[in-house]
Amino acid sequence: MNSSNEPSTSNPTATIGAKSELLSVQHVSWHADNQLILDDISFAINKGSFTGILGPNGAGKSSLLRCLYRYLKPDAGSVKFNQQDIWQQYDAYQYAQDIAVVLQETPTHFNLTVYDIVALGLLPHKGLFTREQSSDRQQIDCAIKQVGLVDKTLQNFEHLSGGEKQRALIARAIVQSPSLLIMDEPTSHLDVRYQIQVIELAKSLGITVIASFHDLNLASAMCDQLIVLDKGKLVEEGTPQEVITSEMLSNVFGVCAEVSVHSQHNVPHISYFYGYDTHDKTVHENEHKSEFSHE
């Protein structure tokens, strides 16, 4: 597959080297309740890249992201940001100045407005007794404008639609002015229009982004680099062209699919076959239950 026509500015495979490396994960393992959730994972993220993390449910995507945003401390191995260990050379407050995270958690019952949520992005940059300056307000206004929520500024966050909530959280991340944005399943529960909108918005920020995905076609179209996890192990890593293959889909996700080239974007495109057994690839007549070997 021809990767020279890729629209993205940075091609991670072409810019290998410590200089452009923003985040490096080295032999990270983590377990919970005597069960190994992450098993010796190593990879690197380059500056300016958009990395997608793929894998079936329970593969360890969220746990891996939690290790990256310093919520979980790995049992073994290290995570380095700008060549500095995030647990030994950063504290939570310093790390929050460099990394913004968009999660699925949303506040309930507490009547926070969109403005309040977005303003929280200032937190890592403000002392306890500093007030909001007019420049801060401008920054917040700009971020709200950038995500297109101007007329919702003073609305209750809870009353927004799923896509608007996600955009408000991205606006908060913009105000945090990070060099790395981490998003845990930013497109789940969103309709197709919002899925594309949210990912394009994240891409348009021009910073390094790591996001976990369930929609493989979306990940293939939007990401420069993909990492595939299965049962806590890193099983594939590379460009979408390298990673998205029918073999990988069968081995990791247990589905039968044909991978072609997207007619418009020149990226791998997956067409799923329904009612197939992934192992012998024969159609089960009148049987719609497919076998998910990894569930």
Binding site: R66, Y69, R70, Y71, A92, Y93, Q94, Y95, A96, Q97, I99, A100, V101, L103, E105, T106, P107, T108, H109, F110, N111, L112, T113, Y115, D116, I117, A119, L120, L122, L123, P124, K126, L128, F129, R137, D141, I144, K145, V150, D151, T153, L154, Q176
Partner: protein
Amino acid sequence: MSIKVSLAMNRINHSTILFLTVSFGILSFIASLSLGAADISFSDVISSLVASFSPEKDVRDVVFFERIIWELRMPRAILAFLAGCGLAVSGLILQTVTRNPLADPYLFGISSGASLGVVISIVLLGSTISLLTPVAAFVGSLVAMLMLLMISGRKQSQQVESMLLAGVALSFLFSSFTSLLLYHTDPQAVTAVLFWTMGSFSRAQWGILWFPALVITSCVMMMLAYRRQLNAMLLGDESATTLGINVNRFRLVMLVLSSLITATLVSLCGGIGFVGLMIPHIVRYFVSQGTVFGIMLTALVGGIFMIWVDVLSRLVLENQELPVGVITSAVGSLFFLSLLYFRKNKA
């Protein structure tokens, strides 16, 4: 409407609301000095207040009603205001850091601890409420607080759940000890304890006011400083962590703050339920609370509400005082229910 205009209007609204609330607070304060068993007119109250600020004040001029104002009603009104502020603010803190809209200063066993302290002091020292009672109540609530911290502070994950459950369990534990002790004392002590737990501002004196004033002012200042962190806690533990907050430590600090407020107030005024739960909710219906404005408004509304509760407690029965806790629960729940009803109809 453009974003700038709407925000500017919002800010103007904030200052107007704050101004109106403060004005109403001052009015309420004067009203509480005027209303009571001895009828003192508004003009007398104001002239007495003005006279106290003029340099040529003659002690012989101090007449009977002035002594009522200055020695009885003023410290009472101030204590009521402080109690309202403190309970509202500590309710706000607890609801925020536990992300539980039902959290209340009394839910965490702090007032049961205070009651136990009072009962122990009464059983050991004789059957009346003495000067030692507030001290015993304070010690009791501090013990409850420390036990809660020891239980919930150790466990890092699911801290919120363990905190709430431990609070409820401790509350029942202390209550059972209290009942056990009361069962074996004389009926007079039981009456004394019962009246104490229903709350009253009648023990207000100039000499003790500095203590709640100091505790509540410093706690409110700390809350204002940590307002962004408090808001961030509402997003969830994980999101708050990614904004640079040490979530478990922050929650413990805030729990200590609100417990200190509660312990102080319980020891001076007895148990005054429902205010800490209700006032933050009422204010939250109208404004978002993690701002300087929201916190100040919560404190002010709590204080003003309590001033009027105190006035009612003195007026409802002739020559007798109704316990404050009775009024807060009755008025508070009715108001809250009507608010819920109207909200439901509006939606």
